[in-house]
Protein backbone atom coordinates (compact mmCIF):
# COMPACT_ATOMS: atom_id res chain seq x y z
CA UNK A 1 0.00 0.00 0.00
CA UNK A 2 1.41 3.40 -0.94
CA UNK A 3 1.37 6.19 1.59
CA UNK A 4 -0.44 9.39 0.64
CA UNK A 5 1.77 12.34 -0.24
CA UNK A 6 2.23 14.55 2.83
CA UNK A 7 0.47 17.89 2.44
CA UNK A 8 2.74 19.69 4.85
CA UNK A 9 6.33 18.78 5.58
CA UNK A 10 8.08 20.85 8.25
CA UNK A 11 11.42 19.82 6.74
CA UNK A 12 10.73 21.08 3.20
CA UNK A 13 8.78 24.09 4.48
CA UNK A 14 11.81 25.08 6.58
CA UNK A 15 14.11 24.86 3.57
CA UNK A 16 11.71 26.88 1.42
CA UNK A 17 11.42 29.50 4.18
CA UNK A 18 15.21 29.91 4.54
CA UNK A 19 15.66 30.14 0.75
CA UNK A 20 12.75 32.57 0.43
CA UNK A 21 14.10 34.86 3.15
CA UNK A 22 17.54 34.92 1.56
CA UNK A 23 16.11 35.67 -1.89
CA UNK A 24 13.88 38.40 -0.42
CA UNK A 25 16.93 39.95 1.23
CA UNK A 26 18.83 40.01 -2.11
CA UNK A 27 15.87 41.53 -3.95
CA UNK A 28 15.38 44.11 -1.15
CA UNK A 29 19.04 45.17 -1.46
CA UNK A 30 18.71 45.74 -5.21
CA UNK A 31 15.27 47.36 -4.94
CA UNK A 32 16.46 49.78 -2.24
CA UNK A 33 19.46 50.79 -4.36
CA UNK A 34 17.29 51.23 -7.46
CA UNK A 35 14.73 53.28 -5.53
CA UNK A 36 17.42 55.56 -4.16
CA UNK A 37 18.01 57.21 -7.52
CA UNK A 38 15.84 58.58 -10.31
CA UNK A 39 16.12 57.96 -14.08
CA UNK A 40 17.27 61.60 -14.45
CA UNK A 41 20.17 61.02 -12.08
CA UNK A 42 20.97 57.79 -13.82
CA UNK A 43 21.11 59.39 -17.28
CA UNK A 44 23.05 62.37 -15.95
CA UNK A 45 25.67 60.05 -14.47
CA UNK A 46 25.87 57.93 -17.60
CA UNK A 47 26.19 61.08 -19.73
CA UNK A 48 29.34 62.15 -17.89
CA UNK A 49 32.52 61.86 -19.95
CA UNK A 50 34.43 60.23 -17.07
CA UNK A 51 31.76 57.58 -16.44
CA UNK A 52 31.51 56.74 -20.14
CA UNK A 53 35.30 56.30 -20.22
CA UNK A 54 35.05 54.10 -17.14
CA UNK A 55 32.30 51.97 -18.76
CA UNK A 56 34.36 51.57 -21.93
CA UNK A 57 37.54 50.72 -20.01
CA UNK A 58 35.69 48.21 -17.81
CA UNK A 59 34.23 46.42 -20.84
CA UNK A 60 37.58 46.27 -22.66
CA UNK A 61 39.70 45.25 -19.65
CA UNK A 62 37.18 42.66 -18.36
CA UNK A 63 36.92 41.05 -21.79
CA UNK A 64 40.71 41.01 -22.24
CA UNK A 65 41.42 39.64 -18.76
CA UNK A 66 38.65 37.03 -19.05
CA UNK A 67 40.05 35.82 -22.41
CA UNK A 68 43.53 35.60 -20.90
CA UNK A 69 42.09 33.80 -17.86
CA UNK A 70 40.41 31.26 -20.16
CA UNK A 71 43.64 30.73 -22.11
CA UNK A 72 45.34 29.85 -18.83
CA UNK A 73 42.43 27.95 -17.30
CA UNK A 74 42.02 25.42 -20.14
CA UNK A 75 45.52 23.86 -19.94
CA UNK A 76 45.84 24.22 -16.15
CA UNK A 77 42.34 22.84 -15.54
CA UNK A 78 43.11 19.92 -17.87
CA UNK A 79 46.40 19.20 -16.06
CA UNK A 80 44.66 19.19 -12.68
CA UNK A 81 41.79 17.01 -13.89
CA UNK A 82 43.73 14.42 -15.93
CA UNK A 83 47.33 14.62 -14.75
CA UNK A 84 48.75 12.18 -12.20
CA UNK A 85 51.87 13.60 -10.62
CA UNK A 86 53.57 14.13 -7.30
CA UNK A 87 52.48 17.29 -5.47
CA UNK A 88 49.19 17.63 -7.37
CA UNK A 89 47.26 18.45 -4.17
CA UNK A 90 49.76 21.18 -3.32
CA UNK A 91 49.52 22.67 -6.81
CA UNK A 92 45.74 22.54 -6.57
CA UNK A 93 45.82 24.39 -3.25
CA UNK A 94 48.42 26.92 -4.45
CA UNK A 95 46.23 27.91 -7.41
CA UNK A 96 43.59 29.05 -4.92
CA UNK A 97 45.93 31.62 -3.38
CA UNK A 98 44.41 34.57 -5.30
CA UNK A 99 40.95 33.52 -4.07
CA UNK A 100 41.88 33.34 -0.39
CA UNK A 101 44.20 36.36 -0.24
CA UNK A 102 42.57 39.66 0.77
CA UNK A 103 42.12 41.64 -2.49
CA UNK A 104 44.19 44.61 -1.26
CA UNK A 105 47.06 42.22 -0.52
CA UNK A 106 46.93 40.91 -4.10
CA UNK A 107 47.33 44.52 -5.29
CA UNK A 108 50.18 45.13 -2.87
CA UNK A 109 51.94 41.91 -3.96
CA UNK A 110 51.67 43.03 -7.60
CA UNK A 111 53.03 46.48 -6.71
CA UNK A 112 55.98 45.00 -4.82
CA UNK A 113 56.71 42.37 -7.49
CA UNK A 114 57.12 45.05 -10.15
CA UNK A 115 59.71 46.79 -7.95
CA UNK A 116 61.94 43.68 -8.04
CA UNK A 117 64.64 43.30 -10.76
CA UNK A 118 62.47 40.73 -12.60
CA UNK A 119 59.42 42.99 -12.36
CA UNK A 120 61.39 46.02 -13.55
CA UNK A 121 62.63 44.04 -16.54
CA UNK A 122 59.03 43.17 -17.47
CA UNK A 123 57.99 46.79 -16.95
CA UNK A 124 60.69 47.93 -19.37
CA UNK A 125 58.81 45.99 -22.08
CA UNK A 126 55.18 46.47 -20.92
CA UNK A 127 54.58 49.03 -18.17
CA UNK A 128 52.00 47.63 -15.73
CA UNK A 129 52.13 49.80 -12.60
CA UNK A 130 49.46 52.54 -12.74
CA UNK A 131 48.52 51.70 -16.35
CA UNK A 132 45.60 50.08 -18.18
CA UNK A 133 47.75 46.94 -18.59
CA UNK A 134 47.96 46.93 -14.78
CA UNK A 135 44.16 46.98 -14.57
CA UNK A 136 44.00 43.93 -16.86
CA UNK A 137 46.72 42.14 -14.85
CA UNK A 138 45.00 42.82 -11.50
CA UNK A 139 41.69 41.54 -12.91
CA UNK A 140 43.43 38.54 -14.50
CA UNK A 141 45.07 37.39 -11.23
CA UNK A 142 41.70 36.97 -9.51
CA UNK A 143 39.60 36.00 -12.56
CA UNK A 144 42.07 33.30 -13.64
CA UNK A 145 41.87 31.55 -10.27
CA UNK A 146 38.08 31.23 -10.64
CA UNK A 147 38.35 30.22 -14.31
CA UNK A 148 40.91 27.50 -13.46
CA UNK A 149 38.61 26.11 -10.78
CA UNK A 150 35.68 26.07 -13.21
CA UNK A 151 37.65 24.39 -16.02
CA UNK A 152 39.03 21.76 -13.65
CA UNK A 153 35.44 20.88 -12.71
CA UNK A 154 34.46 20.78 -16.39
CA UNK A 155 37.27 18.35 -17.32
CA UNK A 156 36.60 16.27 -14.19
CA UNK A 157 33.06 15.72 -15.44
CA UNK A 158 34.04 14.87 -19.03
CA UNK A 159 35.00 11.23 -19.54
CA UNK A 160 38.54 10.72 -20.82
CA UNK A 161 37.39 7.65 -22.75
CA UNK A 162 36.49 9.45 -26.02
CA UNK A 163 39.97 10.97 -25.95
CA UNK A 164 41.49 7.49 -25.54
CA UNK A 165 39.45 6.25 -28.50
CA UNK A 166 40.55 9.25 -30.59
CA UNK A 167 44.17 8.34 -29.83
CA UNK A 168 43.68 4.76 -31.03
CA UNK A 169 42.09 6.18 -34.20
CA UNK A 170 45.21 8.17 -35.07
CA UNK A 171 45.34 11.30 -32.87
CA UNK A 172 48.16 12.51 -30.70
CA UNK A 173 47.05 13.45 -27.15
CA UNK A 174 47.03 17.14 -28.14
CA UNK A 175 44.91 16.46 -31.25
CA UNK A 176 42.47 14.35 -29.21
CA UNK A 177 42.01 17.16 -26.70
CA UNK A 178 41.64 19.77 -29.45
CA UNK A 179 39.29 17.78 -31.69
CA UNK A 180 37.21 15.86 -29.13
CA UNK A 181 37.48 17.24 -25.60
CA UNK A 182 37.47 21.00 -26.16
CA UNK A 183 34.34 20.98 -28.36
CA UNK A 184 32.63 18.95 -25.60
CA UNK A 185 33.89 21.46 -23.01
CA UNK A 186 32.64 24.57 -24.83
CA UNK A 187 29.75 25.16 -22.41
CA UNK A 188 32.17 25.00 -19.48
CA UNK A 189 34.59 27.30 -21.31
CA UNK A 190 31.83 29.84 -21.76
CA UNK A 191 30.99 29.56 -18.03
CA UNK A 192 34.68 29.97 -17.06
CA UNK A 193 34.97 33.04 -19.32
CA UNK A 194 31.78 34.54 -17.87
CA UNK A 195 32.82 33.92 -14.27
CA UNK A 196 36.22 35.51 -14.90
CA UNK A 197 34.50 38.44 -16.67
CA UNK A 198 32.04 39.01 -13.83
CA UNK A 199 34.79 38.77 -11.18
CA UNK A 200 36.89 41.25 -13.16
CA UNK A 201 33.98 43.67 -13.45
CA UNK A 202 33.67 43.86 -9.66
CA UNK A 203 37.41 43.91 -8.94
CA UNK A 204 38.40 46.97 -6.93
CA UNK A 205 41.08 46.46 -4.23
CA UNK A 206 43.96 45.17 -6.38
CA UNK A 207 43.19 47.72 -9.12
CA UNK A 208 43.16 50.60 -6.64
CA UNK A 209 46.50 49.59 -5.13
CA UNK A 210 48.29 48.46 -8.30
CA UNK A 211 46.80 50.54 -11.13
CA UNK A 212 45.57 53.55 -9.16
CA UNK A 213 42.31 55.48 -9.47
CA UNK A 214 43.21 58.12 -12.02
CA UNK A 215 40.23 59.60 -13.87
CA UNK A 216 40.23 59.05 -17.62
CA UNK A 217 43.22 56.72 -17.25
CA UNK A 218 42.80 53.68 -14.99
CA UNK A 219 39.22 54.36 -13.84
CA UNK A 220 36.97 51.32 -14.13
CA UNK A 221 33.40 51.07 -12.84
CA UNK A 222 34.20 50.07 -9.22
CA UNK A 223 36.78 52.91 -9.15
CA UNK A 224 34.05 55.31 -10.35
CA UNK A 225 31.80 54.24 -7.44
CA UNK A 226 34.71 54.85 -5.05
CA UNK A 227 35.58 58.27 -6.54
CA UNK A 228 31.95 59.45 -6.68
CA UNK A 229 31.38 58.35 -3.07
CA UNK A 230 34.58 60.01 -1.88
CA UNK A 231 33.47 63.38 -3.31
CA UNK A 232 29.95 63.00 -1.90
CA UNK A 233 28.06 62.38 -5.17
CA UNK A 234 25.99 59.51 -3.86
CA UNK A 235 23.48 59.57 -6.76
CA UNK A 236 26.26 59.12 -9.32
CA UNK A 237 27.76 56.29 -7.23
CA UNK A 238 24.35 54.62 -7.09
CA UNK A 239 23.83 55.08 -10.84
CA UNK A 240 27.16 53.40 -11.64
CA UNK A 241 26.39 50.65 -9.13
CA UNK A 242 23.06 49.99 -10.84
CA UNK A 243 24.83 49.78 -14.18
CA UNK A 244 27.16 47.15 -12.71
CA UNK A 245 24.16 45.26 -11.31
CA UNK A 246 22.57 45.31 -14.79
CA UNK A 247 25.78 44.04 -16.42
CA UNK A 248 26.11 41.29 -13.79
CA UNK A 249 22.50 40.22 -14.41
CA UNK A 250 23.13 40.15 -18.17
CA UNK A 251 26.11 37.83 -17.58
CA UNK A 252 24.05 35.64 -15.26
CA UNK A 253 21.24 35.28 -17.79
CA UNK A 254 23.68 34.80 -20.69
CA UNK A 255 25.47 31.98 -18.85
CA UNK A 256 22.13 30.28 -18.26
CA UNK A 257 20.73 30.77 -21.77
CA UNK A 258 23.84 30.27 -23.88
CA UNK A 259 25.10 27.50 -21.59
CA UNK A 260 21.94 25.54 -22.26
CA UNK A 261 22.07 26.07 -26.02
CA UNK A 262 25.76 25.36 -26.67
Amino acid sequence: MTRPVARFSPFWSGLVLVTGLYLAFLVALLAATAAYTSPQHLWAALDSREIRYSIGLSLVTCTTSALLALLLAVPVGYLLARGRFLGKEWLDAALDIPIVLPPMVVGLCLLIFFQTPAGKMIESVIPFTYTVAGVVLAQFVIGAAFAVRTMRGVFDHLSSRPEDVAMTLGCSRGQAVWLVTLPAARRGMFAAFSIAWARSLGEFGPILVFAGATRMKTEVLPTSVFIELSVGRLEAAVAVSLLMVALALVVLVAVRLVGEKI
Binding site: S159, R161, D164, A166, M167, T168, C171
Partner: protein, 213 residues
Protein backbone atom coordinates in the same frame (compact mmCIF):
# COMPACT_ATOMS: atom_id res chain seq x y z
CA UNK B 1 47.79 -11.78 -34.26
CA UNK B 2 47.77 -10.24 -30.79
CA UNK B 3 50.55 -11.37 -28.49
CA UNK B 4 51.39 -10.37 -24.93
CA UNK B 5 54.77 -11.60 -23.82
CA UNK B 6 55.38 -11.58 -20.02
CA UNK B 7 53.61 -8.24 -19.57
CA UNK B 8 53.66 -6.74 -16.07
CA UNK B 9 51.91 -3.66 -14.78
CA UNK B 10 51.37 -2.31 -11.30
CA UNK B 11 49.47 0.53 -9.62
CA UNK B 12 49.45 0.51 -5.83
CA UNK B 13 48.37 -2.91 -4.59
CA UNK B 14 46.96 -3.87 -8.00
CA UNK B 15 49.29 -5.79 -10.29
CA UNK B 16 49.37 -7.83 -13.48
CA UNK B 17 52.34 -10.17 -13.47
CA UNK B 18 53.99 -11.94 -16.39
CA UNK B 19 50.80 -11.98 -18.42
CA UNK B 20 51.26 -13.86 -21.68
CA UNK B 21 48.66 -14.71 -24.27
CA UNK B 22 48.57 -15.31 -27.99
CA UNK B 23 45.55 -14.79 -30.21
CA UNK B 24 46.17 -16.15 -33.73
CA UNK B 25 45.32 -13.92 -36.69
CA UNK B 26 41.65 -13.99 -37.62
CA UNK B 27 40.51 -15.49 -34.29
CA UNK B 28 37.81 -14.18 -32.00
CA UNK B 29 39.13 -14.40 -28.43
CA UNK B 30 37.07 -13.74 -25.34
CA UNK B 31 38.67 -12.67 -22.06
CA UNK B 32 36.69 -13.24 -18.88
CA UNK B 33 37.39 -12.46 -15.26
CA UNK B 34 35.94 -10.89 -12.15
CA UNK B 35 35.25 -7.16 -11.92
CA UNK B 36 38.42 -5.25 -11.04
CA UNK B 37 40.78 -8.08 -12.01
CA UNK B 38 42.52 -5.93 -14.66
CA UNK B 39 40.78 -6.87 -17.93
CA UNK B 40 40.34 -3.26 -19.02
CA UNK B 41 43.93 -2.45 -18.01
CA UNK B 42 45.10 -5.29 -20.23
CA UNK B 43 43.11 -3.89 -23.18
CA UNK B 44 44.56 -0.45 -22.52
CA UNK B 45 48.07 -1.92 -22.55
CA UNK B 46 47.33 -3.57 -25.91
CA UNK B 47 45.98 -0.26 -27.28
CA UNK B 48 48.99 1.69 -25.95
CA UNK B 49 46.94 3.77 -23.52
CA UNK B 50 49.02 2.35 -20.65
CA UNK B 51 52.66 1.41 -20.84
CA UNK B 52 53.60 -1.97 -19.31
CA UNK B 53 56.36 -1.92 -16.72
CA UNK B 54 57.83 -5.03 -18.30
CA UNK B 55 57.18 -7.36 -21.24
CA UNK B 56 56.26 -6.89 -24.87
CA UNK B 57 53.11 -6.30 -26.91
CA UNK B 58 53.07 -7.61 -30.47
CA UNK B 59 50.48 -6.87 -33.13
CA UNK B 60 50.99 -9.14 -36.11
CA UNK B 61 54.74 -9.75 -36.09
CA UNK B 62 55.46 -6.17 -35.00
CA UNK B 63 56.63 -5.22 -31.50
CA UNK B 64 54.47 -2.20 -30.67
CA UNK B 65 55.39 -1.97 -26.96
CA UNK B 66 56.89 1.48 -27.34
CA UNK B 67 54.60 2.74 -30.10
CA UNK B 68 51.91 5.37 -29.56
CA UNK B 69 48.24 4.26 -29.70
CA UNK B 70 47.86 6.10 -33.03
CA UNK B 71 50.54 3.96 -34.69
CA UNK B 72 49.22 0.55 -33.58
CA UNK B 73 46.31 0.22 -36.01
CA UNK B 74 43.87 -1.13 -33.41
CA UNK B 75 40.12 -0.55 -33.40
CA UNK B 76 38.90 0.05 -29.85
CA UNK B 77 35.28 -0.22 -28.69
CA UNK B 78 34.92 0.78 -25.01
CA UNK B 79 32.13 -0.34 -22.72
CA UNK B 80 29.82 2.66 -23.15
CA UNK B 81 30.84 3.31 -26.77
CA UNK B 82 32.56 6.55 -25.68
CA UNK B 83 31.22 8.36 -28.74
CA UNK B 84 32.51 11.89 -29.32
CA UNK B 85 29.78 13.99 -27.68
CA UNK B 86 29.61 16.79 -30.27
CA UNK B 87 30.03 14.70 -33.44
CA UNK B 88 27.07 13.44 -35.48
CA UNK B 89 27.28 9.75 -36.39
CA UNK B 90 28.59 10.57 -39.90
CA UNK B 91 31.57 12.45 -38.42
CA UNK B 92 32.25 9.69 -35.88
CA UNK B 93 32.64 7.26 -38.79
CA UNK B 94 34.72 9.74 -40.79
CA UNK B 95 37.06 10.64 -37.92
CA UNK B 96 39.89 8.14 -38.50
CA UNK B 97 39.80 8.72 -42.28
CA UNK B 98 39.93 12.52 -41.95
CA UNK B 99 42.99 12.14 -39.71
CA UNK B 100 44.58 10.14 -42.53
CA UNK B 101 43.68 12.89 -45.04
CA UNK B 102 41.67 10.50 -47.23
CA UNK B 103 39.86 12.13 -50.19
CA UNK B 104 36.28 13.31 -49.50
CA UNK B 105 34.69 10.88 -51.98
CA UNK B 106 36.53 7.92 -50.43
CA UNK B 107 35.33 9.01 -46.95
CA UNK B 108 31.74 9.37 -48.15
CA UNK B 109 31.90 5.93 -49.78
CA UNK B 110 33.33 4.29 -46.66
CA UNK B 111 30.68 5.94 -44.43
CA UNK B 112 27.90 4.67 -46.71
CA UNK B 113 29.43 1.16 -46.75
CA UNK B 114 29.86 0.98 -42.95
CA UNK B 115 26.42 2.48 -42.30
CA UNK B 116 24.79 -0.13 -44.56
CA UNK B 117 26.79 -2.97 -43.00
CA UNK B 118 25.90 -1.92 -39.44
CA UNK B 119 22.36 -0.80 -40.27
CA UNK B 120 22.87 2.78 -39.08
CA UNK B 121 22.19 4.66 -42.33
CA UNK B 122 19.12 6.37 -40.84
CA UNK B 123 21.22 7.61 -37.90
CA UNK B 124 24.01 9.34 -39.80
CA UNK B 125 22.95 12.88 -38.91
CA UNK B 126 22.11 12.19 -35.26
CA UNK B 127 24.16 13.23 -32.25
CA UNK B 128 25.15 10.57 -29.68
CA UNK B 129 22.62 11.78 -27.09
CA UNK B 130 19.82 10.87 -29.50
CA UNK B 131 20.97 7.24 -29.89
CA UNK B 132 19.86 4.17 -27.95
CA UNK B 133 22.39 1.88 -26.24
CA UNK B 134 22.46 -0.60 -29.13
CA UNK B 135 22.76 2.18 -31.73
CA UNK B 136 25.65 3.73 -29.81
CA UNK B 137 27.54 0.43 -29.83
CA UNK B 138 26.96 -0.03 -33.56
CA UNK B 139 28.31 3.46 -34.22
CA UNK B 140 31.30 2.82 -31.91
CA UNK B 141 31.97 -0.38 -33.85
CA UNK B 142 31.71 1.46 -37.18
CA UNK B 143 34.07 4.17 -35.95
CA UNK B 144 36.61 1.55 -34.86
CA UNK B 145 36.37 -0.29 -38.22
CA UNK B 146 36.53 2.79 -40.45
CA UNK B 147 40.29 2.72 -41.02
CA UNK B 148 40.31 -1.07 -41.65
CA UNK B 149 42.24 -2.17 -38.54
CA UNK B 150 43.65 -5.67 -38.42
CA UNK B 151 42.89 -5.90 -34.69
CA UNK B 152 39.72 -5.05 -32.80
CA UNK B 153 39.49 -4.88 -28.99
CA UNK B 154 36.09 -4.63 -27.33
CA UNK B 155 35.56 -3.85 -23.65
CA UNK B 156 32.22 -5.34 -22.56
CA UNK B 157 30.48 -3.90 -25.63
CA UNK B 158 27.20 -5.71 -24.97
CA UNK B 159 26.92 -5.42 -21.20
CA UNK B 160 24.51 -2.47 -21.13
CA UNK B 161 22.08 -3.97 -23.68
CA UNK B 162 18.93 -6.01 -23.18
CA UNK B 163 19.05 -9.70 -24.06
CA UNK B 164 17.45 -9.57 -27.51
CA UNK B 165 19.61 -6.66 -28.63
CA UNK B 166 22.65 -8.40 -27.17
CA UNK B 167 22.09 -11.49 -29.32
CA UNK B 168 21.61 -9.37 -32.46
CA UNK B 169 24.74 -7.32 -31.83
CA UNK B 170 26.78 -10.40 -30.89
CA UNK B 171 25.79 -11.96 -34.22
CA UNK B 172 26.75 -8.72 -35.97
CA UNK B 173 30.14 -8.65 -34.21
CA UNK B 174 30.90 -12.21 -35.25
CA UNK B 175 29.85 -11.56 -38.86
CA UNK B 176 31.87 -8.36 -39.12
CA UNK B 177 34.94 -10.03 -37.58
CA UNK B 178 34.71 -12.93 -40.06
CA UNK B 179 34.06 -10.74 -43.11
CA UNK B 180 36.88 -8.31 -42.33
CA UNK B 181 39.29 -11.07 -41.26
CA UNK B 182 39.99 -9.21 -38.03
CA UNK B 183 41.71 -10.56 -34.92
CA UNK B 184 39.36 -9.68 -32.05
CA UNK B 185 39.74 -9.61 -28.28
CA UNK B 186 36.44 -9.21 -26.48
CA UNK B 187 36.02 -8.73 -22.72
CA UNK B 188 32.83 -9.99 -21.12
CA UNK B 189 31.33 -11.34 -17.92
CA UNK B 190 28.75 -13.36 -19.80
CA UNK B 191 29.31 -17.08 -20.41
CA UNK B 192 26.52 -17.03 -23.01
CA UNK B 193 28.28 -14.26 -24.90
CA UNK B 194 31.55 -16.17 -24.74
CA UNK B 195 29.83 -19.33 -26.02
CA UNK B 196 28.28 -17.42 -28.91
CA UNK B 197 31.42 -15.60 -29.99
CA UNK B 198 34.64 -17.23 -28.83
CA UNK B 199 37.10 -19.20 -30.92
CA UNK B 200 39.41 -18.97 -27.92
CA UNK B 201 38.63 -18.30 -24.27
CA UNK B 202 40.93 -16.77 -21.69
CA UNK B 203 40.41 -16.08 -18.01
CA UNK B 204 42.23 -13.39 -16.05
CA UNK B 205 42.55 -14.15 -12.35
CA UNK B 206 45.01 -12.98 -9.71
CA UNK B 207 47.08 -11.09 -12.25
CA UNK B 208 47.55 -14.04 -14.62
CA UNK B 209 45.86 -15.16 -17.86
CA UNK B 210 44.99 -18.79 -18.45
CA UNK B 211 43.49 -20.27 -21.60
CA UNK B 212 40.28 -22.17 -21.02
CA UNK B 213 39.21 -25.17 -23.08
Amino acid sequence: MIQLDAVSWQAGAFRLENVSLTIPAGSYAVLMGRTGCGKTTLLEIICGLRRPHAGRVLIGERDVTHELPAARGIGYVPQDGALFPTFPVREQLAFALRLRHRPADEIAQRIAQLAAELDITALLDRLPQHLSGGERQRVALGRALAANPKVLVLDEPLSALDEELRDDLAALLKRVQREHGITALHITHSRAEAAQLADLRFRLAEGRVIEEP
